[in-house]
């Protein structure tokens, strides 16, 4: 029992952070679609989940959690989790090299599909690989994560069952949401230290302090659910799907709380294009909706627990 990231896991996260600090500064969010992707590919990040014999790092989902969290902190655009998680599904050469977007069951649209070389379509009866599709832009909340309706004729069936892929995508997205929430909190704290009203920094007022403390609590206790879900998926634990839903719901709610609080602390300026804050706000909401909103995942947890599956893992 060592429920703490190893040095290697942390080192991958730190390497991703270093790449993104240089290659994905906030200014890049206004001009680029995939800043930093080249650097992450060079680190092997997108092939991390591939086995070594397929030129991958042979890692589990757990191993890349700190790295995924860093992509959330940096607000890295593009189908990051999709490309990393889908890699093991793809034909040998494609995994880790090609950009992938995903259409999930019950999800109408594929994010960043216009950037994707391949689409993975998850259906209850299995996964499909789509090479060419007609894309129709659909309105969304996140300017850096555009949505597309997808129509296609030809597809290749994939052997992987759709369920586990979807759970892994939900948990990978939850890890990003933890990073988004932490960055929103950090930006709120930074602003509250310098913004002065009534002759004092607003961060010295109890109402602001306690609101941000609540965000800290929410993030602090969402993260271990995400880590556990990844371990459970990697281990094929019995209630891993339920635990994945618990993780996605908690991370989505923590990020939504962090976003609402960030906006409230910043006031009207947080609402505008003047500050970079809006990118993280939009990401909290767009990833919160991706692969099932918190309401959807809460319902799944409830159905499992009420149905009698209240087993704890470990």
């Amino acid at each position: 029992m060592n429920f703490a990231f190893t040095d290697e896991q942390l080192a991958l996260g730190a390497a991703v952070r270093d790449v993104l600090r240089d290659a994905c500064p906030p200014a890049a969010l206004r001009t680029e679609r995939r800043p930093g992707w080249r650097g992450l590919a060079e680190l092997g990040f997108f092939a991390a989940l591939l086995p070594p014999e397929h030129d991958g790092l042979g890692l589990g989902l757990t191993d890349v959690l700190p790295a995924l969290e860093e992509t959330g902190r940096a607000c890295l655009p593009g189908p990051v989790a999709e490309t990393a998680v889908a890699a093991p599904l793809l034909p040998k050469a494609a995994g880790g090299e090609l950009c992938v977007s995903v259409v999930a069951p019950g999800q109408a649209y594929a994010a960043d599909a216009d950037l994707a070389d391949l689409l993975v379509v998850l259906r209850p009866d299995g996964a499909r690989l789509v090479q060419a599709a007609e894309l129709t832009p659909r309105p969304g909340i996140d300017p850096c994560r555009p949505l597309f309706a997808v129509a296609y004729d030809a597809y290749e069936p994939l052997e992987a069952p759709a369920g586990p892929v979807l759970h892994r995508l939900a948990v990978a997205t939850a890890a990003q949401l933890v990073g988004v929430a932490k960055e929103l909190l950090a930006r709120s704290v930074a602003y509250a230290r310098v913004r002065t009203q009534f002759g004092a920094p607003i961060g010295s007022f109890q109402a602001v302090k306690h609101r941000l403390a609540d965000v800290a609590v929410a993030v602090e206790f969402a993260a271990p659910l995400v880590w556990r879900a990844a371990l459970a998926l990697d281990a094929g634990a019995p209630a891993a799907g339920r635990d994945a839903s618990a993780a996605k719901a908690a991370a989505g709610e923590a990020a939504a709380l962090a976003a609402g609080s960030a906006l409230q602390v910043h006031g009207a300026v947080g609402y505008t294009d003047e500050l970079d804050l809006r990118f993280w706000l939009a990401r909290a909401w767009s990833l919160g909706a991706a692969y099932g909103t918190s309401a959807v995942h809460r319902e799944r947890v409830r159905a499992a627990l009420l149905g009698g599956d209240a087993r704890r893992w470990p």
Binding site: Q107, A108, Y109, R138, P139, G140, I141, P143, L147, T196, Q197, F198, I202, F205, A207, V208, A256, G260, L263, Q264, G267, A268, V269, Y271, T272, D273, E274, R278, L281, A282, W285, A289, A290, G292, T293, S294, A295, V296, R298, E299, R302
Partner: protein
Amino acid sequence: MDLDFSPAERDFRAEVRDWLSANVPDPPLPSMDTAEGFQAHRAWEARLAAARLSVVSWPEEYGGRGVSLIDWLIFEEEYWAAGAPARVTQNGIFLLAPCLLRFGTPGQRARWLPRMASGADVWAQAWSEPEAGSDLAALTSRAEPVPGGGWRLYGHKTWSSRAAHATHGFGLFRTSGARHKGLTYFMFPLDEVAVRPVAQLDGLPGFAELHFDGVRVEESMVLGEAGQGWSIAMATTSSERGLTLRSPGRFLATADRLLALARESGDPAAADRAARCWTEAEAYRLHTYATARRIMAGEAAGAASSLGKIFWSELDLRMHALALELLGERAGETPWLDGFLFALAGPIYAGTNEIQRTIVAERVLGLPR
């Protein structure tokens, strides 16, 4: 105590409902923060005004019908239930007009109110400055008297809603050093003000920055007297927080739509949240009937209006957040996404809810400062 509408009130409701059902634009107008949408909304205001429905509670001489607050609430219920357009004139009719009616000269009222009622003039509010948000009395924009009459305005206002397209603005400017008593309430045409539109979360310029570099305004553009600005503005924000800015009708319509969405979803926990919101919208409606009655009896809304501001703004946000959870990535195809972005600002504008809670604690409950 009763909740019975009179025959006249029922007739009025029927008239409003019929007119709206024949006239509400379908498809909905484009966003009022686009140039095209702004003009379309202004044209809608003119049609409303032609039916004498744009400002029903104002005196007839200014374009209203002189009806009671209860009738106004009825109008609002029908207006929002019909899915009618948002009011591009709202800063003027709900914030400035109450002050003009109370503190304006007969000349000011005659000059500005009818044009406001018809949408000929569209007013933007200009309260905040970069360093004066919640702490409004810290503002530094100033007005200097011009020998021979009139003033020149200097300074920098921000988060000015509607200012990107509006024709006029109103706000406080400093005419002496005293923190509160040095402020004066000015109206001004926007054509000589440097307006820099500011994009909001939805990418549209719902805000603007206003830069005043000696903008000349006539003496008649001062509302009340020099130095009275703070107390007039507080009367405004009191009405802003009270009845006039966010009538229950808006939230009743939202609650009905939310209930339909929750019913569709089949998620009983979501249904529970929606049912709570629906009941809370009812509570706000009933509470407002009681408040309206008190105001009609001559009482002031006072600090208690802060209770309402807290309640409706957080209800509105909860409703839209739930809708987004139910819609997922389809939210952008519905009016709920824009509604959510708008609702997010509710706990911030018109005095943040932190300020409102402090007002409730100190002025309603009597806790020490």
